[in-house]
Amino acid sequence: MHIIVLIKQVPEMDKVLFDSEKGRIDRKSAGVEVNPFDLNALETAVAIKEQTGAEISVLSMGPNRAEEALKEAVARGADNAYLLSDQKFAGADTIATSASLAAAVETIGAYDLIIAGEMSVDGDTAQVGPQTAEFLNINHAAYVSELISLNESEITIKTSLWQANYSKSFSYPLLITVTKDINTPRLPSFKAKLKARKAEVKNLTLADIKEKLKIDKVGFKGSPTWVDNIVVPAEISRKTKVFSEEEKESAYHKIKEILIEKNLMED
């Protein structure tokens, strides 16, 4: 069994500073990390590997420094790492990204399962998974919160759709996107980290995947959407009335007033 995990390197969103005048994050203000949801995707693959002896390849599209993210994935249990990197991929939206990733997947070779995170914390679209599945013309299941069962020919997952929980069983190939609920990623051991530093990351460029590509252009030129304008929303600043411990009673009165005012009191 061969599993491909899609990994994105992202800015550390809880540390990164935001320049509200320029309307963009200051990328230098924080480091980069593996998209947190992708660690759940990788952990899912590693758990399957432990059960079945599957082989895990990780794939990322991004600049050269994304090699670090792939090496971390190797430390956490991946066997092969592929970095899809080319100047021409710059400025890609989700369509251009997914089409490029799909072409890279087909270039890597035969696979049974592709696992992506539910969303990336910087792109935040949750689109790349399902779109990659479409470019590959395979089934996908999004919002997977549990792997119910799995064998050489079939996989059963739990997903949340239509305000309900469903189980779905598929034959391979399949792409799934996983939520945080599926597992708790383990930390790599020190030894594994050391070994991963020497791991070989295979480079793929546009030329390597061109044959398999289903769109005419990649990167910004192959992207149907673009950001036309950026607006920094007015801070929702509220006038806060703070009550101290001693003023609790007046606070309760205020709450009662609000309930009456908003017609929220139960009769």
Binding site: M13, L161, Y166, P224, W226, V232, T240, E245, L264
Partner: protein, 323 residues
């Protein structure tokens, strides 16, 4: 004269009803369609035909539908195959759909199938002078609003539930109802699909929310918050930290990776006010925060703050409300 092009709302029909986001989109869609000189249409895929007059009363000029038992289950592959076969022949300028889990899973497949642009989770929409759709979405932990445009057709967007208001029904409106053939009924790779359970908790629609964070020490203590919520006819909710700690189920989580809520009144008990939590509740009409730490960031957003122990405040509030 060539027929007018269309703004199509892809409607989610689930749990034996049309998802309420569809009516919000009809209300907004009417204004957009007028501005861009388009007809407003709805496409539904459903296991059994229903009365579509509500859709027309709320603004639809045309209702397209496919009726087949296969649409009793959420199988994205079958849906997208059939929707793509319809879109290939239709004159559609804009496709809008609700950013429900199913919408967010299905819309990207359709966009990729058409190689057209798709913007996720829009909170506002407009039409520019040239008649193009402006897709507005928060980005970078809600720090900015990005205005996005597409140079491909149709222009596609998913829109968050409860961003737009449902309009009033006009029962004198006329509309066309058009049956479409379900072309693809089989998905050879899907071996089995079944519903396990309904998610009964729906915090997104509550008028009052009583939320607890790490200030709540254990799962048992959430009963205290539940008692207050019940007394107010409200809904219990939580921050991610207590969900992660296993004190309460994921369905209750408010925030960036949980539910977005817009209640009339939001109580935050023992919640510090991290940006990812605020992302889910900052649009509540009135926010009351109770926290022992006077410097907790939640006090910057709250309308009313009480610097006190939640374990004292909640019983006292319950006592007062009972009288």
């Amino acid at each position: 004269m060539a027929a007018k092009k269309e703004l199509l709302i892809l409607a989610e029909y689930s749990q034996n009803k049309i998802h309420p986001v569809v009516f919000e989109l009809l209300n907004k869609g009417q204004k957009l369609a007028e501005k861009a000189d388009l007809n407003l249409s709805v496409l539904l895929l459903l296991p059994k035909k229903i009365d579509f007059s509500e859709l027309i009363a709320h603004g639809a000029d045309k209702v397209y539908y496919m009726e087949d038992p296969v649409f009793a289950n959420p199988d994205e592959f079958i849906y997208k195959e059939n929707i793509l076969s319809f879109l290939a022949k239709a004159q559609i300028e804009i496709v809008l759909t609700g950013a429900t889990n199913f919408g967010r899973s299905l819309a990207p497949r359709i966009a990729a199938g058409l190689k057209t642009g798709l913007t996720a989770d829009c909170t506002a929409l407009d039409i520019d002078e040239a008649g193009n759709l402006i897709q507005i979405r928060p980005a970078f932990s809600e720090n900015i609003l990005a205005h996005i445009k597409s140079d491909s057709r149709p222009q596609m967007a998913t829109i968050r539930y409860q961003e737009f208001k449902k309009g009033t029904a006009d029962r004198s409106r006329q509309g066309e109802i058009i049956a479409l053939e379900t072309k693809i009924k089989d998905n050879p790779n899907l071996k089995d699909i079944k519903k396990l359970s309904d998610r009964e908790i729906n915090i997104a629609e509550a008028d009052i929310i009583v939320a607890g964070g790490s200030g709540v020490k254990n799962g048992e203590d959430f009963k205290l918050l539940k008692e207050l919520a019940d007394l107010l006819g409200g809904q219990l909710a939580a921050s991610r930290d207590v969900v992660d700690a296993g004190l309460i189920a994921k369905e209750y989580q408010v925030g960036y990776s949980g539910q977005r809520v817009k209640p009339k009144l939001y109580f935050a008990f023992g919640i510090s006010g991290a940006p990812q939590h605020l992302a889910g509740m900052k649009e509540a009409e009135t926010i009351v925060a109770v926290n022992t730490d006077p410097s907790a960031p939640i006090f910057n957003l709250a309308d009313y703050g009480i610097v006190a122990d939640l374990y004292q405040v909640i019983p006292e509030l319950i006592e007062m409300l009972k009288n």
